[in-house]
């Protein structure tokens, strides 16, 4: 595919990501933000693809969109009566929030564009890296991998324990 379309598509997805993230943050409707978060995740996944991490992109979609987002929606539904949509959630610290938003972003961009501490070295990842991930996982990162699996287990148990209703309460 040509360089130009490549660039255009990148910008498209970048715009989707940023705009949806902004919508997530700035909308007052929890449901809306939840849904726009979906788009953000998609955008990010797409960017992963651009970053030649297709496997991760898939994982992103599966885990985030399939798991986390659903969880969030459940949470929303648990905590807010679904019958009245369009219910708002108030904000605090709006002013320092904005200051910091602009400030952080400003400083970071300034940093990125002024400091050229990290010039991309010639070697870049090319093509799919699935088998390399597998290789790495089983070689270098086997211990973290196990740790993470245990963590997941613990987290699931803990989440289940925390979230369950006990009879006495109702």
């Amino acid at each position: 595919m040509s360089n130009t379309t490549y660039t255009v598509i990148f910008y498209l997805f970048a715009a989707i990501t940023v705009c949806s993230a902004a919508f997530v943050v700035f909308t007052r409707n929890v449901i809306y933000s939840a849904f726009s978060l979906l788009f953000t995740f998609f955008g990010v996944a797409a960017l992963y693809v651009f970053l030649s991490a297709d496997f991760l992109a898939v994982t992103q979609v599966v885990v985030y969109v399939g798991g986390i987002l659903v969880l969030l929606l459940f949470g929303v539904m648990f905590t807010n009566s679904i019958m009245n949509p369009g219910q708002k959630s108030e904000v605090i610290h709006l002013f320092p929030g904005f200051i910091l938003l602009v400030g952080m972003i400003g400083t970071m961009l300034y940093t990125f564009y002024t400091s050229n501490g990290w010039k991309a070295t010639g070697t870049t990842l090319q093509g799919s890296i699935v088998e390399r991930i597998g290789y790495e996982t089983m070689s270098h990162y086997v211990l973290p991998f196990e740790m993470v699996s245990i963590l997941l287990l613990a987290a699931l148990i803990g989440a289940a324990f925390l979230a369950r209703f006990d009879k006495r309460e109702n």
């Binding site: 605090i92 610290h93 320092p96 929030g97 910091l100 400030g103 952080m104 400083t107 300034y110 940093t111």
Partner: protein, 756 residues
């Protein structure tokens, strides 16, 4: 120690013993212990009479002198001076023995007299105690052999005179009088003390003998002016004590004391002590000092006489006559008639004591009436008193055949001689004043005799209110306040008051002193008390001796005889060789003195004539005025009213002193104490206030600035804390905000560092 010394010490201490006994135990003794005083004085008189007999009568030696002294204060080995001691001691010579006898005798008589006069007084015992301490101090003056002890006893007689003048202290007048007497004496004593100091500072000793020896050896380090000053200053002691002008004011007031006291202290002995003292220091008086003394004496004699003629209080007349007679003595000393002056001292002591005691008898009989205007006609009621009083009056007036005539005449003769020697001029003023005073004396004594004893009783003429005032004045201390309402029955006094009068009157007759009723120089006294040799004559040539050198012709006669010194011990010298007699005692170291004595004897008869005439004149005047009433005193008084008032008010001396010294010192005192409390203390307080002000300022500074800073810190911390507390909301997001703020801040900081 010489036996006479021992006796004299006994004599000295006996009256002290009587004082101690009486002051402590008089209330426990019968009759308040007056017999103790009388008895002790009798013993003392006996002993001193024995001394007199020993020294004068039995074996007379012109140079007789026994002394004994002991170390009173030992100052150790003083750097620059060497061993230094202040010694006390007694000395007995002819003069001393005579004075001893005289003092003890009069004191004894006064004691005896007082048993009658003071009978029934509520402080009867204390009175005798005071008499005792007075006699002790007076004997001390007589006996002491050095200036220091004389000064000590000098003050002590002042004390006893103070106590006795104020004996009736309930009377304000008495209290004033005693204070006045003591202070006036103190003023005199200052001078005397300074004179003593001048001598001591040169010789480091107080003893007469050593001082004279060193003076004669010319060891006096200072100029002659200092020596003259010393003489005059020492004489000031006499001025105070003997009531000489200008310190005479206290003596008349001293008559507030009981009359016997006036007789003893203020007529016979204490006031004469001044003269005695001058006689003691006579040899160191320079001619200049002598001139001053002579003039003061003459003026005193004259002034007192003029005052006496107008006084109405019987005792005041006598007091002023005393002052006047003391003036005579001082005059005599001043003109160099040494022996004459002392002679007059003795004779005057007796007849003036007699006069005072007589007046005391009168006052006693008149129930404390002292104003002569309300007396009169007493000669019938009080014959004894009349006789003795008159005799003593004649002696005082100086009529021949009396003792007073001998002595006064000798003094006046000396004055004439002095005037001649000193070259006349102003110096003739002295004999002139003397003779004039003699006339005045005769006049006022005649006046007194007449007013008191002759004519009719004028008691009823007395204005009532003054009458009662008089009662009030004395009934506080007077025991017999019975007869005041009725007319006074005046009667002769009892024996114990009569005897002294008789004795004293007997001692006022000429033959006691001299076989020749006209010449005291032939008497034993003036022979035995010759003029001592001055110790300053050659050391400082003065005018007198220059003149003496000029008139060498006279001396050509005098001096060789002196050198030959035909000691005419036994044979009575006659007037022709009187100077020989005078010089026979010893050779004069000063020509001037020899000359004065010589001239004095030469002038003897002139003096007799003049004085006799003067005295007769005075008495005649008195007769003319008061007996034959040719001149009416009241009219005369009116005619010369200013003069009369001047004399009546005692030349306004009291007023002058009141206005100048007393008021002055009081004003000074009040001013100074104002200055003290307001200026000096004010400064102190001012400083204190300033410090306080500063302290307050400092305090406020402390409170507002220093302490304020502390409080401010606390406040700031507090507020900041309160502000920060707001941040601790417990809201996680707030914390996050802060966290991120921090991070952001770090970023900013970091990047700004990156830029540069």
């Amino acid at each position: 120690m010489h036996s006479l010394i021992q006796l004299s010490i006994v004599v000295l201490l006996l009256p002290l013993l009587s004082f101690v006994i009486l002051i402590f135990f008089n209330r426990r003794l019968p009759r308040r212990g007056d017999f103790v005083g009388v008895g002790i004085l009798g013993t003392a008189f006996g002993i001193s009479a024995y001394i007199f007999w020993q020294v004068i009568v039995q074996s007379y030696d012109p140079a007789f002198r026994v002394a004994w002294d002991f170390t009173w204060i030992n100052l150790g080995n003083v750097p620059g001076v060497g061993p230094l001691q202040i010694r006390m001691g007694v000395v007995i010579d002819n003069l001393t023995s005579i004075m001893l006898a005289m003092v003890t005798l009069i004191s004894l008589l006064v004691h005896l007299y007082s048993t009658g006069y003071m009978a029934g007084d509520k402080n009867y015992g204390r009175y005798f105690a005071f008499l005792g301490i007075f006699t002790f101090s007076m004997l001390g003056i007589v006996l002491s052999d050095n200036l220091f002890s004389i000064y000590i006893f000098w003050e002590l007689v002042g004390l006893s005179s103070y106590l006795l003048i104020g004996f009736f202290f309930e009377k304000e007048s008495a209290a004033d009088a005693q204070k006045k007497a003591f202070l006036a004496n103190r003023v005199g004593d200052i001078g005397m003390w300074l004179g003593i100091l001048i001598l001591y500072s040169q010789f480091h000793t107080f003893s007469f003998a050593e001082i004279y020896a060193k003076l004669a050896a010319g060891e006096f380090g200072l100029s002659n002016a200092w020596l003259t000053a010393a003489g005059i200053l020492l004489f000031m002691g006499c001025v105070g004590k003997s009531a000489q002008f200008p310190l005479h004011i206290w003596l008349p007031d001293a008559m507030e004391g009981p009359t016997p006291v006036s007789a003893l202290i203020h007529a016979a002995t204490m006031v004469a002590a001044g003269v005695y003292f001058v006689a003691r220091i006579f040899v160191l008086l320079t001619p200049d000092a002598l001139h001053v003394i002579a003039f003061i004496g003459a003026s005193t004699a004259f002034m007192a006489a003029t005052i006496a003629i107008t006084q109405n209080d019987i005792k005041r007349v006598l007091a002023y006559s005393t002052v006047s007679q003391l003036g005579y003595m001082v005059l005599g000393l001043g003109v160099g008639a040494y022996s004459a002056a002392l002679f007059h001292l003795v004779t005057h002591a007796f007849f003036k004591a007699c006069l005072f005691l007589g007046s005391g008898a009168i006052i006693h009989a008149m129930h404390h009436e002292q104003d002569m205007r309300w007396m009169g006609g007493l000669r019938k009621n009080m014959p004894w008193t009349f006789a003795t009083f008159t005799l003593a009056t004649l002696a005082l007036a100086g009529l021949p055949l009396t003792s007073g005539f001998l002595s006064k005449d000798a003094i006046l003769a000396g004055a004439i001689g002095f005037a001649q020697v000193e070259g006349g001029g102003i110096y003739y003023l002295i004999p002139v004043l003397g003779f004039f005073s003699a006339m005045l004396t005769a006049f006022y004594m005649g006046r007194q005799i007449w007013l008191v004893f002759f004519g009719e009783s004028r008691t009823h003429l007395k204005p009532a209110e003054t009458h009662h005032a008089a009662h009030h004045a004395h009934d506080s201390h007077d025991s017999h306040t019975d007869l005041h309402h009725a007319e006074h029955q005046v009667h002769e006094v009892s024996w114990n008051m009569r005897a002294p009068l008789v004795i004293l009157a007997a001692l006022s007759v000429f033959f006691v002193y001299s076989p020749d009723p006209l010449d005291g120089g032939k008497g034993w006294f003036m022979k035995m008390i010759p003029t001592p040799a001055t110790v300053v004559g050659q050391a400082n040539p003065q005018k007198g001796s220059l003149i003496a050198a000029a008139t060498a012709t006279q001396l050509a006669g005098a001096v060789p005889e002196a050198v030959v010194g035909h000691a005419a011990a036994g044979e009575l010298p006659n007037a022709a060789s009187s100077h020989g007699q005078a010089t026979s005692a010893h050779t004069y170291s000063d020509l001037r003195q020899a000359e004065i004595v010589h001239a004095g004897h030469a002038a003897h008869y002139t003096a007799i004539y003049i004085s006799s005439v003067m005295v007769l004149l005075g008495i005649g005047l008195a007769l003319v005025v008061y007996v034959f009433n040719i001149i009416d005193p009241e009219k005369t008084a009116l005619a010369i009213r200013p003069l009369y008032l001047f004399s009546l008010n005692k030349w306004y001396w009291d007023e002058i002193y009141q206005a100048t010294f007393i008021k002055g010192s009081m004003v000074l005192a009040t001013t100074l104490s104002w200055f003290d409390t307001h200026i000096v203390d004010g400064m102190v307080n001012g400083v204190a206030t300033l410090v306080r002000k500063f302290a307050f300022f400092n305090d406020s500074f402390d409170r507002h600035v220093v302490d304020g800073a502390v409080n401010f810190t606390a406040f700031t911390v507090n507020t900041i804390g309160a502000m920060l507390r707001k941040l601790q909301t417990g809201k996680v997001q707030t914390y996050i905000v802060m966290l991120i703020l921090a991070v952001f801040g770090y970023f900013v900081f970091y990047f700004t560092r990156l830029i540069y």
